[in-house]
């Protein structure tokens, strides 16, 4: 087996530079690569473009990079929970491209699977379609959307092995599998890292070929954004 392990998050993020485009998994704060984000904050890389469904909250997730003005551009589908984000966007400090969630996922998948572009009905007739090539299929209009082009993907899985095979948990899966192999280098952080051979091959969600670097993350906070309970 090819060993994909790196000793720590510093090694995992080696090569990260100002001006790069990053993909970051997660939906809200669920399944975000907490360790990689902390390292990007520490490295203080600037003028980066982040492809991520959301932008975190003010003091966690990608909100940490926003606070330090490290992000030049965000490509997201929903950014509603972050006041600092809204302030930077409305003041023009931050460039924001809002795109439909399914289009975001499919643009990741396209990059992962070597499909340069695809047609989708989402956004036709709206601002999202402005300036884009459109075409009719089966009597319905569609927009041409392109695969993402990023230097690094940062994903978070529940379990992984030294060969880079990944298993996700619950709805923390979300965009993480779609971003694996969708950038030049995919960095996977996992809660549990086991030797190759310990995971059941039938249960693996993402084969190790899509992952270049894997490490066991530390001190996961796994914050809950909207703690909602029912009464007994």
């Amino acid at each position: 087996m090819i060993n994909k392990t790196v000793v720590n998050v510093q090694q995992a993020c080696k090569g990260v530079q100002d001006g790069m485009t990053f993909m970051l998994g997660g939906f809200g704060l669920c399944g975000i690569p907490e360790n990689a984000i902390a390292e990007l904050v520490r490295l203080d890389v600037k003028k980066v473009t982040c492809i991520s469904n959301n932008a975190g909250v003010d003091d966690f997730g990608l909100g940490l990079l926003l606070q330090k003005r490290q992000i030049k551009k965000m490509i997201s589908s929903y950014v509603g929970e972050n006041a600092e984000f809204e302030r930077q966007m409305l003041s023009g400090e931050l460039d924001v491209e809002l795109i439909p969630q399914g289009t975001l996922a499919q643009r990741c998948l396209a990059a992962q699977s070597g499909v340069p572009a695809f047609y989708t009905p989402a956004g036709y007739g709206t601002e999202v379609g402005e300036g884009k090539e459109s075409r009719e299929f089966n009597g319905k209009m569609h927009l041409l959307e392109h695969a993402f082009n990023a230097q690094f993907s940062f994903v978070k899985a529940w379990k992984g092995d030294t060969a880079g095979n990944l298993i996700f948990k619950g709805t923390a899966r979300n965009f993480n599998p779609n971003m694996c192999g969708a950038a030049k280098i995919t960095v996977a952080e996992v809660e549990q890292l086991v030797p190759a051979g310990e995971l059941d091959p039938n249960q693996i969600h993402i084969p190790g070929i899509f992952v270049q670097r894997i490490f066991q993350g530390k001190q996961y906070q796994k914050r809950i954004e909207q703690r909602t309970v029912r009464q007994l």
Binding site: C30, G80, L98, P121, G170, T171, R173, T228, R230
Partner: protein, 217 residues
């Protein structure tokens, strides 16, 4: 006039045996509380679960198990988890039978606006554009008028659109309406609400045919 729970309760009557249903944030989320328990229905949340259950009891919250509104949830027996691309394959591929979502404005030809108020509020469209572009069956849950008392059922939307010609049915605090031939057809009125009250609260063109029945609960 209906409150939010009653709107959800009325919409729940549209959920039929064997449906896979996607519920949006806000009033639509409440619909799950009112679906008859003698029919088989599965709720999809686009962040990656089919077979979504109720909110957890205190102490049983799981950070790895949330809905599209980022609320903690539970999974029912037989539920499944999947990635975002698979989730939107279910949606774009029209495997989801019914989509229920909120709106800031709806126009009489079925356009919907619910993601942006220029210069004021920009939260993003999330999955709404994919949902409305593909779903065959879309019900909008909304208040008939905004806080200033202005109609949200218009000839043309004034806000940036989420989708065009896609809304089929609207359940508001005042009425149930269907989009037919580029107009709002009034189907039912809320208990205690008169047809003229609905006319006053609707800027788009209304089709009113015969006696309009009161909603049944």
């Amino acid at each position: 006039m209906l409150d939010k729970n009653q709107i959800a309760q009325r919409i729940a009557q549209e959920v039929k045996e064997g449906y896979y249903v996607n519920l949006g944030i806000g009033i639509p989320t409440l619909v799950a509380n009112f679906v008859r328990d003698d029919i088989q229905v599965e709720f999809q949340s686009e962040n990656g679960i089919l077979g979504m259950g109720p909110f957890p009891f205190e102490g049983e919250e799981d950070a790895d198990l949330i809905n599209a509104g980022k609320q903690t949830i539970t999974a029912l027996k037989g539920a499944s988890y999947f990635d975002s691309a698979t989730s939107f394959s279910m949606i774009r591929g029209q495997h989801v039978d019914l989509t229920i979502l909120g709106a800031m404005e709806v126009s009489q030809n079925g356009d919907i606006a619910n993601w942006k108020i220029p210069g004021k509020m920009v939260k993003g469209m999330g999955g709404a554009m994919d949902l409305v572009a593909s779903a065959e069956n879309i019900i909008v849950a909304m208040m008939h008028t905004n806080r200033a008392g202005q109609s949200k059922l218009l000839k043309q939307c004034s806000l940036p659109l989420t989708g065009v010609n896609c809304v089929k049915k609207i359940v508001s605090n005042l009425a149930v309406l269907e989009v037919v031939d580029g107009k709002f057809k009034l189907l039912e009125r809320a208990p205690g609400v008169s047809v003229s009250q609905i006319q006053e609260a609707t800027l788009g063109e209304l089709i009113i045919e015969g006696e309009i029945p009161q909603m049944k609960f």
